[in-house]
Symmetry: C2
Subunit: 340 residues, 2 copies
Amino acid sequence: MSPTIRVAVLGAAGETGSSIVNGLVEHGNFSIAALLRPQSISKPANQALKSRGIDIIPTDLSGPKEDLVRALKGTDVVISAISAMELQSQMPLADAALEAGVKRFVPCAFMPIVPAGGVMMLRDAKEEVYNHIKVIKVPYTIIDVGWWYQLTIPRVPSGKTDYFSGSQDLFNILVGDGETHGALTDLLDIGRYVAAIIADDRTLNKYVFAHNEIFTPNQVYEMVQRLSGETLTREYIPAETLYKQLNELNKALEKDPTDLVAMVDKVGVQYKISWGARADNTPQNAKYLGYLDAKELYPEFKFRSLEDYTVGLLEGKSKPVYSDNKDMQAVMKARLARSG
Amino acid sequence: MSPTIRVAVLGAAGETGSSIVNGLVEHGNFSIAALLRPQSISKPANQALKSRGIDIIPTDLSGPKEDLVRALKGTDVVISAISAMELQSQMPLADAALEAGVKRFVPCAFMPIVPAGGVMMLRDAKEEVYNHIKVIKVPYTIIDVGWWYQLTIPRVPSGKTDYFSGSQDLFNILVGDGETHGALTDLLDIGRYVAAIIADDRTLNKYVFAHNEIFTPNQVYEMVQRLSGETLTREYIPAETLYKQLNELNKALEKDPTDLVAMVDKVGVQYKISWGARADNTPQNAKYLGYLDAKELYPEFKFRSLEDYTVGLLEGKSKPVYSDNKDMQAVMKARLARSG
């Protein structure tokens, strides 16, 4: 048995963060701490962490560096699953991790494969953090995970899946002819991949791509029809329409850079362009971009199939995503209101 | 014997480009073309290429894409050793290479190890090109080479090395205590590394670091003293002084962004900070940043030692660098004039 690895997780109560904490607990070889804003510690989701034996470390990322360094002393691995709105706050965390002698810093990546350089503003914001990490020379691992099952399955006419909240249809469209292959992963498996990856010396200072299965959107629709026995209408959206939408959103954001709905919609459109029109989110492209493939690193890894996930979803057994996330809920509501 | 690989070189008459052409010729397994601006074909250096059996392909990087695509049809590997001033012109070349079915695009890297993200403007300008390559998905290899021997050896008091032009002392200083290790390579060996790397499937879509030897500046001075029998004075420059100089140069460039001397000096100061103060230019850092190591790929590779190079330099046998480069000569002259 290898010695226990001490891990600190930022954003432990978020969607990806929860999966990571669960994965670490299940793996069993980690002692786990959650880095929490002092004012957030009393939140129910964070108190729930405490009751599971997760250490709580009050952490103010905008506070003095020496406090952050002290908080991270003795930590082997720092994992950040911070929200997309706060990516830049990882810079001081990385600085402190370096000074505290942290052996591996895992910044918030956990997204589909997208190249840096103008395809997605979200990806480019992450690149700035990766660059900072490499400039200060803290040991790192960057883990991307493909597209969540949880944002993949289209609604069925019977309304059986409507309990799954409105978030699922944010991205759930057929781009072009619906034949672009994309890598999909169960959100609930992400933490188990992360546990395997951070316990593995081969992944130090590397990019790793972890995904469960490959589907085209057409294949997803066919599978959902087969499993539900319902007939789904397919709306195909040409790539040019997406580029036009992006153009409109850029104009709206030029006028009002604080327009949160436009920002979230832009992230959505850029995602669709990336996986749907550009076919970025594939294991081949990950390899081309320099990633190790978790399928090769962990050939024995057991994951849930998209079919099993879909069966559970149709049976009403899936936990909706973003349901505890007030920011996302507010954006959804604003989107609905705007679209009338 | 593997089939002949058809290579097209941009910047074939420059310092790195000449080394590359020589390395490809020596390797023997390549058919070589030089991509030349139509108005440069008549230059003596380019005519010399022709007389060595190098194909000349007139290439206007700002011309219509279809002309570039036609020029690259049938080319297996495109290597760019373009000047630092024209890095962005590689974008249309990469676009055309993709469309022409080029199997490997080697952009202009060929520098010491420096991370992207604000350490060096020259490195960040190259990063933009690398990002473009990855966005369009042309197969690539990025090759960095450490610091040239040719810019490493300090002048000796007897003046024996003064024939080597003024370029050598652009970067030849002792930063801090002079104890920072750095990777050094003979400019004349670079092409031989490139030939090995582009004939090797393991390096496709990878970063490769090729260097000859590791020295500290103090060790260089000691070696030169031993070989020349002369006593050299050492001037140590504290890192803070370099950061102050950088600050001044940034101010000058803010006032006049076209100040070429300030720009070249900024590149020089940023290099000194990178290898001297930050210790970026090491095989360890290359590995950390994701590079393959040519020492591991080609353990049998024969290179010239720094000692052998220095003996030749002291005997008057080294070919000065940048002596054919009018731009660099003009900058040197302007620098000298400015420093009085």
